[in-house]
């Protein structure tokens, strides 16, 4: 076994609570299971352990991290621990005052989600009135000289508005625009038949992005995350399991990937039991899909095995029931027909989108 590299980035999922209900959310379906959130002091210890383990960047995420009252304090701890900090937010709670406090505490960068450039479509997708608040938050963040990435998750309902979305990103003067096709896990998997685009939409979108990249070079950086359902080979999920990233969930469970908890065959350690260092190097779940030894054929003998690492374990599980299977997205996978099947189902689907809901206290 070669040396295990140290992780570069920690995804700190502070909470799964969120005022928005986006149907393409990658959060787990069983949101009520995660109400028991870590205390401030535990998160502070975790940030220290992450720094000692070699983590360089922390991404505060959720749910909506701004529902945590201690967010400013946690950002300050990250800065004290010499971590570069990113905040992923829906921004409806990002008041100028709050943003200013976060800036002073040392927050390095903001990633603001925007489901659509059309205000009515945006509000329909978030299940709440949110467009105006998002626009105001971007303006306030601009005033504070925050670097801003606008994150637009792409699917059949907004892909045809890509030109407008890109124009809005330049009008709002953000630094980066991330155009990321939906990853079908969590709520997005549940809504897959109602979200999957057509190949025509995907191809037109690629053309629009290519033209915009040329035209806007030097003004707006565009990051286009391609839809793996329309590729020949899977994405290099996580840059390889247990190689670069780790996630701490709201209740302190430590995951190689934010959606891995959906795989019932796996059991996960928590920050209450062990240090992040012990977990990263020794926990069986981090070893399970590390490297290439676990791979079945056709991955095992494939020359791309160290390029895409067999793809996404969560996707393999969700579609085949076996988390060790080759990602069905791969044209060499014995389960590849499932991709075509899901697209055919999507083309027929008349169902309504299922909004992400947090059950009320029982």
């Amino acid at each position: 076994m070669t040396t295990i590299p140290r992780p570069m980035a920690l995804l700190a999922e502070l909470t799964y609570r969120c005022p928005l209900q986006c149907p393409f959310c990658s959060n787990p379906l069983e949101l009520a299971r995660y109400r028991d959130e870590l205390h401030t002091s535990v998160w502070q210890r975790v940030l220290g352990e992450a720094s000692e383990l070699g983590v360089a960047q922390v991404h505060f995420s959720g749910g909506e991290p701004l529902v945590r009252r201690d967010l400013v304090e946690l950002v300050r701890t990250a800065r004290e621990r010499d971590l570069y900090s990113n905040l992923s937010t829906g921004a409806t709670m990002a008041t100028p005052e709050k943003l200013s406090q976060l800036r002073s505490a040392g927050l390095d960068a903001l990633q603001i989600s925007l489901p659509d450039s059309d205000s009515a479509a945006n509000d329909w997708l978030t299940g709440a009135s949110s467009f105006k608040q998002k626009r105001a938050a971007v303006a306030a963040a601009r005033e504070l000289d925050f670097p801003i990435t606008l994150n637009v998750v792409l699917h059949r309902h907004n892909l045809d508005r890509l030109t407008e979305i890109i124009r809005l990103a330049t009008d709002w003067q953000v630094d980066r625009l991330e155009l990321a096709h939906t990853q079908y896990t969590g709520w997005a998997f549940r809504n897959r038949a109602r979200l999957l685009p057509t190949r025509g939409q995907v191809e037109r979108a690629e053309e629009v992005v290519a033209v915009a990249e040329l035209k806007l070079a030097g003004r707006l950086q565009i990051l286009h995350v391609l839809p793996d359902y329309f590729q020949e080979y899977p994405k290099a999920c996580l840059n390889g399991w247990g190689s670069t990233f780790l996630t701490v969930a709201p209740d302190g469970v430590v995951l190689p990937c934010q959606t891995a908890r959906e795989i019932p065959q796996l059991s996960f350690p928590t920050v209450h039991d062990q240090s992040l260092e012990q977990i990263w190097f020794n926990a069986p779940v981090f070893q399970q899909f590390r490297g290439c030894d676990w791979m079945p054929e056709p991955c095992r003998s494939c020359e791309r095995r160290e390029q895409d690492f067999g793809g996404c374990r969560c996707q393999a599980f969700l579609m085949t029931g076996d988390p060790a299977a080759t990602d069905p997205v791969c044209q060499l996978s014995p389960d590849h027909h499932l991709i075509a099947q899901s697209k055919a189902e999507a083309a027929q689907s008349q169902e309504e989108l299922a909004y992400r809901v947090m059950p009320t206290a029982q």
């Binding site: 570069m8 070699g54 360089a56 390095d108």
Partner: protein, 94 residues
Amino acid sequence: MTNDSQKATQVKLARGVRYRWDGVREQHQLLYPEGLLVLNETGAAIAQLCDGRSTDEIKRKLANSFSDGQIENDIGEFLARLAQRGLVRHDDDP
């Protein structure tokens, strides 16, 4: 843009880009919202001077620290590569 005016422009790390010494790996890093770039000694020295000085000032400053006659070319190339990745910006405004 002429060569002369280019020399007068200020070179700054782009918004959200930060230099960091990684004590665990013992390496220089340039961090930005989506990831990081590992720097060698020369790159680290240049990046740390991208604080609003001109390219010429950076060259003068480093000419003494690096005896290698290549350093002037290296600085130009390195800054061009960083600019292409959106990690530094050249400001014309004083």
